[in-house]
Symmetry: D3
Subunit: 146 residues, 6 copies
């Protein structure tokens, strides 16, 4: 047996960040109200343009209060979407981090279980619908489109 | 150019359903408050055991009020999870049907856009976290687990 | 380097299971003829409804002899499907557990290699067919549908 | 509404195939005992090296009798793996073609339904195992590895 | 048989775009040097924030010359990555559009075939490496990380 | 916490390889200019037919100079495709090995970051296009097909 391999690039430690990167790290800590910079962001910092571009995008959609945008979904729903996508895509890092975020928001194991039940259910029905190549239903036009 | 191919099996029309299948079709219509049987269920009806087993499972988790179970998530959140999974898995039938369900629940294009923005965002970060093989953060034990 | 992170929830140990959960754990041990409860089920036990619903479903399709249903596929074929899906979806837990199940059923490394060869082959052709957006062939109607 | 788009390249019609391609087309017809060349192969023929390399590979693993290799799996099991992978990957072309192949081998809708039930089931459990980041069980060493 | 279903929302036609949306549509036409607005952007326009945020992100990474950023990859390599990801994810819209972009850049069917061969190959080896749960190699530290 | 589980089969050590396997191992070392046999190939060696068939295929497309074929893509572009596919498919082994290959070819963290940015971007747009079921654009026929 061997241990987990490291990320494929060397993370940028907080105390070795350039001024540009340090400013983004500080914004991450403050916006997310956490006292460390997650490995995800320390990894993206190896290409500061990437760090900036992904952080700006994630901040916009996941921390609307910090950008003055009114969100139509609450924080818990947004994290539930994040977990549903991450579980479906088999992303260990993301699954861990979004589960931790949900726990921090007060989600208990039973509620998490219900989220997982629904995520599991639709991975099942997706495989059935694709496996049988089922054609879309024709809906009455009034509810056909958003 | 050619037209869409049919499902890979012949659907069971409502008027040719066996008694066992007809009973499930009726339950689907009533539980979902719709006046037709979606192609998904008419396809699964080619193997009645499969129809029964998937319907029982979906009814339990998506229509808790019909089975007397108290759900910790509301109907809109449950359909949002369904759409997030279906978009991630590339399932045309499912994407169409869960979008229609959300529209029926009153979701407008802007809210749908926000759901999609978040679904897109985490498909992006999942690829980044997996592409860099980023290691999970070590959280303080109190928030580590649900 | 760091070690493997734990599951995102605390597993339910066998000696701390509620009566409801303990009964399902016992059924799992007996039906699967194993002398321990796999981590998968100890995790689902954090939400007993989820444990019950997934176990009932898996028991039905993977252990038909225990539910009095006649299966049209043998046990080895069923486990081969499980492994093919798990390898395609990148699920480490599932890949390990279904490989172990196949080994227990007497599958040797050469046969496992042939299964993997075919799983790999169709992941390749799927990418080619989707990458070129190849249109379905029009078959003579007699073999078009099951 | 619009019609299905064509493949992203122009297929090579049988009567315009180069000698090299025509020889492979003939081998496909004969090995598969069909009287047409499927769109998949007419598409790959746009790059003859690709056609040759994929056909050689597929012939080896899916038509062992034509290459003198003894297979440890029967033709039906091999096609079931192909369908399980294609349904999981959301490949319309492949799903259609492998379902047709199974029908040709005598598989009825009920058996197809059982295959789909198992494919759906493991897409579900894969999402659960990945969504909870469940750690592999430690098996007794004798059954740990093939 | 039935026709292709429409997108799940009503596209925003160019002549009905709000001023904010029209400005982005104009930028898309100009930056991409095309004389129409692709369906992708007319769909995202149903939620202008989403349109703006995705366009800004895509413009940055795919049209660096328009934003004054020096790219380390050429336009053809960038589109090849787009096609490789889209083929792997089974995205019909994206596969069509990135293939068209490559054709516009002068890529011929043989080169496209080579790209596809490599995309197919690694979908195959990914399934093999995941299906066998192969552990990462330990590289000499000098080449271990970027 | 526990350690990484081993591969699901026992690797074939270099000094225990049969003559047939040893010959392929030698070709891998020489063609790839490395002084060890990667775990991937030592795993496939458990079924020599699989080892031979996958190696022949990979050698053809990734090491064209060794087979006398002229490639239309350079080595860096080929490895970039490999990484893009592996990141999208969530394959830890493959991601590690293709990142190492790119580093060996002189790719620096900033260039790797740009590759990842584009891989992430199209995983995002794929989810959007599939999630909205966007219909392909109709291109002028001259650029429609390769």
């Amino acid at each position: 047996m061997s241990e987990l391999p490291p990320a494929t690039v060397s993370l940028v430690p907080e105390d070795q960040a350039s001024q540009r990167v340090a400013k983004i790290f500080a914004d991450i800590r403050q916006t997310k109200e956490i006292d460390f910079v997650p490995n995800f962001w320390k990894t993206l910092a190896t290409e500061p343009e990437l760090l900036e571009s992904v952080w700006k995008h994630l901040k916009k959609w996941m921390h609307p209060e910090a950008t003055g945008r009114a969100s139509r979904l609450d924080a818990k729903t947004r994290e539930i979407i994040a977990l549903a996508v991450s579980a479906t895509n088999a992303c260990p890092y993301c699954t861990n981090s979004h589960t931790a975020a949900l726990v921090k928001l007060g989600v208990d194991p039973e509620t998490l279980g219900e989220v997982m039940a629904i995520v599991g259910l639709f991975n099942q029905t997706n495989a059935l619908a694709n496996g049988y190549q089922i054609q879309p239903d024709v809906f009455p036009s009034s509810i056909e489109q958003a």
